[in-house]
């Protein structure tokens, strides 16, 4: 078995398995913690609070609009562009078709794919600089925040390099860094990809029962 076959075969399946099992384990562990028992009589149902908290947090609060504009813009820029190129980049669609689902979908034209990469990189730079320069954010950032951010950047950077069609070594470097990201993912704050729904729901439900909306 060649190194390329190993990276795209057993190593890929192993890292994907760690990712799936780890994410499920993480979510189940958090759910099993349960919540604090509500002693007061619920004023309204929790469902309204859950929906409200999940939807309203997609938009910046009017009170903090000015202070949050930068990271809201950078955050949306980074996340939307990242997921766009992850899900609609032609090489990714092809990979998903061959190695994951067995079917694919229409991919972005090359130009749009490159534009998404540009926006994702620009968003990442803005967000990471903010982490380094904002005194409060710098203080509360720990090793995991930096490792997660840098790992994502390395995957994006090697992805840029792997845009050259037909160069196996560059594709393998991108694949290896992505596999490292998959293994690290469930044990890091990158879990916010899934957990943001649960945390918003938990807080929304608590407020909802008290007749408050977030």
């Amino acid at each position: 078995m060649s190194f390329a076959q190993f990276v795209e075969g057993p190593l890929w399946y192993a890292s994907a398995a760690i990712f799936v099992v780890g994410v499920v384990w993480h979510i189940v562990s958090v759910l099993r913690l349960g919540g604090r028992r509500e002693l007061s009589t619920p004023r309204t149902g929790a469902a309204g609070g859950v929906i409200s908290a999940n939807l309203r947090h997609f938009f910046p609060s009017g009170t903090f609009l000015k202070r949050t504009t930068f990271h809201v813009v950078a955050g949306y820029l980074f996340h939307l562009a990242l997921f766009a190129l992850l899900l609609f980049g032609a090489p990714h669609v092809e990979f998903i078709k061959q190695h994951v689902l067995g079917f694919g979908w229409t991919a972005f034209p090359h130009g749009v794919f490159v534009l998404s990469a540009e926006l994702a990189i620009a968003g990442w730079i803005m967000l990471y600089l903010r982490r380094l320069m904002d005194p409060v954010l710098r203080l509360i950032s720990d090793a995991d925040d930096h490792i997660s951010s840098l790992l994502v950047f390395v995957v994006m950077l090697t992805g840029c390099m792997a845009l050259i069609q037909g160069v196996t070594a560059l594709r393998l470097i991108h694949m290896l860094t992505f596999e490292a990201l998959l293994v690290y993912f469930p044990f890091s704050r990158l879990m916010h990809t899934f957990m943001f729904v649960f945390s918003r729901s938990y807080t929304g439900a608590a407020y909802g029962r008290r007749g408050e909306t977030l």
Partner: protein, 364 residues
């Protein structure tokens, strides 16, 4: 008492770590830039190169080659936006000779001279210290937006410089190290990275130029500052928020940065009917302007980090020590004092806000 001694020792350790970090950065920077040039120099001075040069002088095929380059048009059934009925596109040959000749050679020379000058200056002058020592009082200098723009431009610039210089000097420097296939791989990867980061740099650069423009227009006193050498060799010279040296660097960034950006975009998006000639000129202008930009950046990076105590924190923390402001930008300091903004900073030099144990960033 014991706590005070402990704090002093901790401060000294921190200062040592900072010095070690700054030295490491400088050594890495010098290594990145000097090593490729040494390889080029080696290739240039090697006996094979001399032999090849001698051989070229007596090339019996010169007349044939001259005829090929004559640009006579033949017949071809091909058609398209580019000339296809000429055997050798003469402009391309000229472009290659300019690129691999004077641009590469003088570029390396210019950057090398700048680095040598910086090292000589450092050995002569040493680090410019805050003469009165740190006051502990902070003065806000750059807003978060200013710093963000600066670091986006700086970060992308460094990536572009490393990838760009590798492409320009790779033939002479990286092929001997990596081999042909290895360099082909690195060059292709670097080209993609260069092309992707370029547009981000352009957008951030334009925003930074707009943001910093108003303070960098020439003023009375700039000439005096220049005539007195900016105080680098002797006593400090009066200056407002930006001294003449900073203004010159700003205009180098504007001219060289915009020229490199425009030509870079022409090269990055060759889908608007650019002719070969336009692409060749763009590449040459791009290389020359970026070499000047990189050369200037050496000086900027030096004076902003190792060369002057207290200047880096202006861009990392957003504020400077009051004594630094008094010594280097006295007129600006007086303005800040009059407007009551001296001490109106919460972020401290340690970069940890008001965390206990961090150096004081107290209000005046």
């Amino acid at each position: 008492m014991a706590r005070s001694v402990q704090r002093k020792s901790s401060d000294a350790r921190r200062a040592r770590r900072k010095r070690a970090m700054l030295w490491s950065y400088l050594i890495i920077l010098v290594a990145i830039l000097v090593l490729p040039m040494s390889g080029y120099l080696y290739a240039y001075l090697s006996p094979q190169t001399a032999q090849a040069a001698a051989k070229q002088e007596t090339n019996p095929r010169a007349n044939f080659w001259r005829a090929v380059r004559g640009g006579d048009q033949g017949y071809t059934s091909e058609s398209g936006p580019y000339t296809t009925n000429v055997l050798i596109q003469n402009g391309g040959q000229n472009w290659r000779e300019i690129r691999n000749g004077p641009v590469v050679a003088y570029g390396a020379g210019l950057m090398g001279i700048m680095l040598a000058a910086i090292i000589a200056f450092y050995l002569y002058r040493g680090r410019v210290r805050i003469e009165a020592g740190r006051s502990g009082v902070r003065v806000p200098r750059w807003t978060m937006n200013d710093r963000m723009l600066h670091w986006i431009v700086a970060g992308t610039f460094i990536i572009l410089a490393i990838t760009g210089l590798s492409l320009l000097y790779g033939r002479a420097v990286l092929i001997p190290v990596l081999g042909l296939e290895g360099f082909s791989l690195v060059a292709a990867a670097f080209k993609f990275v260069h092309n992707l980061f370029g547009p981000i740099f352009v957008v951030a650069l334009v925003m930074m130029i707009i943001s910093f423009m108003s303070g960098n227009l020439p003023e009375k006193g700039d000439l005096k500052w220049l005539l007195e050498g900016g105080g680098l060799l002797g006593k400090h010279v009066s200056s407002g928020r930006y001294n003449a040296g900073e203004k010159i660097w700003f205009w180098v960034v504007v001219t060289m940065g915009l020229a490199a950006s425009i030509t870079g975009l022409i090269l990055d998006f060759p889908v608007f009917g650019q002719t070969r000639g336009v692409m060749q000129w763009s590449q040459t202008i791009h290389a020359v302007t970026t070499i000047i930009f990189v050369t200037g950046a050496f000086g900027h990076i030096y004076i902003g980090t190792l060369g002057m105590e207290g200047s880096l924190e202006a861009m990392t923390q957003g504020s400077v020590d009051a004594n630094w402001a008094k010594e280097h930008h006295d007129l600006w300091y007086e303005d800040m004092k009059r407007s009551g903004r001296v001490g109106a900073v919460e972020d401290a030099p340690g970069g940890r806000g008001s965390r206990p144990g961090a150096p004081a960033g107290h209000r005046a």
